[in-house]
């Protein structure tokens, strides 16, 4: 099998200059790590923003660090809301599971030397990095960061500074950053799809691919189809702001006493375009986590994934249905109420493959020999959060109930659990699981466990009460509780959540300490520390430049052959050839 990537790797050694090797590198592993550290930076900023918000909600009069003027103004609060959401969703939940781990492990798991288009891969990362800088820059321009939320609904986001501080240059930078990000993601997804289709090792049939690869494949397709829509929508919004067009701006707008000259646009059009992207984006964030969790559960339960084909099929089903239910974000937006029923039933029907996945995870655990290493704990945590967050979604999927719960803290609790925490737990599980492979060293297990307990309990303490606040009618995106009279009654719950948030955030320091300490001080990792079966566990830790040292694997069996009866070892790696065993037999017979 010949491909440009493999030829390049066969002829070329790893580049020797520092810059070509670690900065402008086209090696998928370096790009993956770059994405990973970008996500780590973004998540740190995102956590700090959320802590500032949580603190402000409970002690609004307190002086805060990082806040201009010390005491937070409502527009600063909304800027934090916007930037927390944007950074977390785009630069953490999209980047870490797909771009970081996908880039690093996809080629290795399918037995390829690199991505199909290594240079394009490098370009994707550096575009994403520019998008990140552009996004951060929005903090430092006049008016500060945008206040329109990560959804940026026009007309609030489409008219410039007149609608509020942050809606000037800050919002423009935000849109530009998102556009660059979209473009980078499109390049990345094309690369993923091409790699999975073309560069699989001999014998690696589709039904022998690890579920992580399935998840990355489906996610890449989702990225390709949804980010292109956001790219188009974003360009239109930018034109509305800068070129005086009226795609999303209707006639007769009077903002701040000034009549606007736009006419003929529709604010709902943006919502349709945005959520056509925005809903698949939820699955872009969670599907790789599902893949990794299936992978890890099988590994540490020492059992094949229960219903492998069903798991692959449900990934595809979720991906497909994910495109058909964007309207459930718009039940009360003024959309035709009849379409609400269609979107509602479609939304509930995506609960079916999701529930089936959960059952299959439980089936994988059932009868296993479960080893509780830190990746496994986080994977189990993922299942728990996914169940809780998924079930609270059943309420929001019904338009009648959504007309009570919409835009309350219930929604915040729901999507943080199912999309935020569950995905982050997927990322943590993947990090603890693959750290030995990525860096050749083990992370400290005790610290990892402490990190898990605090984060698991803490995340529930933060986000479960949010559901109750929302049920009682607490509205999201409020800078304080002085607006409506009944909101003040919910203050004790908010205080509890804020304290939980600080404890949980403090627990992340343990993770960072463990991570960076283990980079140099961790015990040396063996080739296969978890007794895994997939191809990444057959090569050195960390893998050589071309992943397999020129000895590209051939695949003989499915990815999760654990505890196969008859075999004395409880795992059969994908690349151990049956005929090799036969040859050994013959030799020994002759010898005998």
């Amino acid at each position: 099998m010949s491909s440009p990537a493999r030829d390049a790797h066969d002829t070329a050694e790893a580049p020797s200059s520092f810059v070509r090797r670690y900065i402008f590198s086209s090696d998928h592993k370096v790009v993956g790590l770059q994405y990973f550290f970008l996500a780590l930076t973004a998540v740190t900023i995102g956590i700090v923003l959320s802590l500032l918000m949580r603190f402000h909600l409970v002690w609004p009069a307190a002086h805060l660090p990082f806040v201009a003027g010390g005491i937070m103004e409502p527009e600063q609060y909304l800027a934090l809301v916007t930037m927390h959401g944007t950074l977390m969703i785009f630069f953490v939940l999209t980047v870490a599971p797909q771009s970081a781990f996908g880039n690093y492990f996809l080629p290795i798991q399918i037995g390829a030397p690199d991505m199909a288009f290594p240079k394009l891969n490098m370009l994707s990362f550096w575009l994403t990095f520019i998008a990140f800088l552009c996004m951060i820059a929005a903090f430092f321009v006049r008016g500060g960061a945008p206040i329109s939320g990560w959804t940026a609904y026009p007309p609030l986001s489409g008219l410039g500074e007149i609608t509020g501080p942050g809606e000037g240059l800050g919002q423009t930078l935000w849109i530009v950053s998102i556009l660059i990000f979209c473009f980078a993601s499109l390049l990345g997804s094309v690369n993923f799809i091409a790699t999975i289709i073309d560069l699989r090792a001999p014998g690696m049939t589709l039904m022998r691919m690890p579920l992580t690869v399935w998840a990355w494949l489906v996610t890449a397709v989702l990225t390709l189809l949804s980010f292109s829509v956001l790219l188009a929508g974003g360009i239109l919004l930018l034109l509305d702001r800068l070129a005086g067009t009226s795609f999303f701006l209707p006639a007769g707008l009077v903002v701040n006493g000034q009549v606007q000259s736009h006419s003929g646009g529709s604010p709902l059009l943006w919502q349709h375009l945005f959520w056509f992207f925005g809903h698949p984006e939820v699955y872009i964030a969670i599907l790789p986590g599902m893949g990794a969790v299936s992978h890890i559960l099988a590994n540490f339960a020492r059992k094949p994934v229960f219903g492998y084909r069903v798991m692959a099929a449900t990934l595809c089903a979720i991906g497909f249905l994910g495109f058909l239910l964007w309207g459930h974000h718009m039940f009360v937006s003024g959309m035709n109420p009849y379409s609400g029923i269609a979107f509602s039933l479609l939304t509930l029907s995506i609960g079916v493959p999701s529930a089936v996945k959960t059952f299959n995870w439980l089936g994988t655990l059932w009868g296993g020999k479960i080893q509780f290493h830190s990746p496994m704990l986080f994977a189990i945590g993922f299942v728990s959060f996914f169940v809780t967050g998924g079930l609270s979604g059943i309420f929001l999927a019904q338009p009648a109930l959504d007309s009570v719960l919409h835009a309350t803290y219930y929604v915040v609790g729901h999507f943080h659990l199912v999309m935020g925490v569950a995905s982050i737990f997927g990322i943590f599980a993947a990090t603890y699981y693959w750290f030995p492979k990525m860096f050749g060293r083990m992370m400290n297990e005790t610290l990892a466990k402490v990190h898990f307990w605090l984060t698991f309990a803490g995340a529930y303490c933060i986000f479960m009460p949010m559901h109750f606040v929302g049920i009682a009618g607490g509205i999201r995106r409020y800078a304080d509780w002085t607006g409506a009279n009944y909101l003040a009654a919910l203050q004790p719950l908010h205080r509890f959540m804020t304290i939980a948030a600080f404890v949980t955030a403090a627990a992340q320091i343990i993770f960072f300490y463990n991570f960076f300490r283990s980079l140099s001080k961790g015990a040396r990792a063996s080739v296969n520390p978890w007794n895994g079966t997939t191809l990444e566990w057959t090569t050195a830790s960390p893998p050589p430049f071309d992943n397999f040292n020129g000895d590209y694997p051939r695949v003989y069996r499915g990815p999760y052959e654990y505890s196969v009866p008859g075999a004395s070892q409880d795992f059969l790696p994908q690349n151990v050839a049956p005929e090799k065993v036969l040859a050994d037999d013959e030799e020994s017979q002759h010898a005998g």
């Binding site: 527009e75 014998g203 903002v255 219903g307 029923i341 169940v387 019904q398 065993v581």
Partner: protein, 483 residues
Amino acid sequence: MREGPKLDRTVEWQTGSSPHSLLCAEKLGSARHTCRVESLATLSKQRIGVYPTRHFFRRPKVSNRRSARLGAKMRLCFRLAEIKLGGTCTRDGGRTAKEGRVVETLDEVYDYLRTGRKTVTQSSVKTVSPLRSWRNWQTHQLEGLALARAWWFESTRPHQTYRRKIQASIGYSRFLSNAFRVLYDGASKTTMRLSRSLSADGFARIKSRRTERDYRGSAAPPALLAVLLAVLVAVTVYIFIAHIYAPPPPITSVGRQIDRQYNLTLYVTGAAFVLAQLGLGFAILRFRDRGQRAHFTRGSTVAEILWTSITIIAFVGLGIAGSKAWGEMRFAPASRDSVQIEVTTTQFVYTFRYPGADGKFGRLDPSLVNAPAGNPLGLDPNDAAGRDDVVVPILTIPVDRPVELLLRSQDVIHNFFVRELRLQQDAVPGMVIPIHFTADRIGRYEIVCTQLCGLGHYKMHSFMDVVSEPNYEQFLRKQAALQ
């Protein structure tokens, strides 16, 4: 712990219950075994009814030529092994006692494949003493050793029976001596560990053993996790049952219908939540690593179909049940005699307009909007229909009469939300969105904006006064006089 039937290794060996034994048998040229393997291969090729739905006995997918050449027999062996061993491994003190049903003849194999394990004759289950079994195994081990090595051959018999013997012999008759022995063993182990830990070498060894034990899995993580999950379930269920956080009671019949739907959804999802979380907790506790072998299975079509259909029925059923309230709230137009009031939202105020005595709203002109001058909506003074329009910042509606609100927005998207109405609706610039309801309880209710509309979003609120009919008339008269 349930004891599986004891297995006669001899029979197992000869009839090939494990892949290596079959292969070895074949290699050794035993006519009988070869015959068996070949007949099975033929059996498989001829498709004589041996493709039951059991997933693990499906016709192998031949993915490439090499595996076709090499694999036919081997796959067959593997599959045969799976039939025999896959389903009914029982755990036996941490080791696996493999299934004791042994397939003796080709007919039996055929029966077995076609009908599952039930029809396999019981007479073929043979019980021998563990010692005898171990000897059998040993005997045949010599025969197969050379070949077995490459297959990571492992005995399924417990080689070390020391511990078991001690346990078995603890009875009243030897209680004291055994108790002493157990204590003595423990004490000497502790002393040994202490003395070892004095040397650095010994310390490292203990440390490595501790990590090894970690890998074996202490019971603490699953137990703690299961407890956490149980606490989560208990607290959540308690808060829901005790109704600690709930919106005030609804004031419309649709609102009450929504609450019923909410409760129905809560019961269904609540049951799923409790079962799933507790099931997860149970699974991790029950199946933690205790040195057992994992139960090998690739899945179950029956289970998949079962839980897929259950979730489809539950979820889609909920959706259909819930669409009723939605339809009543949004599909049906407002009745003709309903009170029409226009709601205009701007950053960050609500303005309510009543059509006045003529029942008609006057024309609005955006260029005339001037809130400081008292014309926040831009009423056209030249339009006669608008002269008697009443414009107020607080909504007043009559009780028990249908009300239709026409939602507009001047600048950005806002929202109209009253908890007691169980009703939220965005007000979108460029659109007039009607909503209707009949409030049946007098009182003052808060209107809040739930759609992010700018820096004053959190301050944007107003009130809805539901008043009696005479009070409503009085309100209209008073406002008309003021305009």
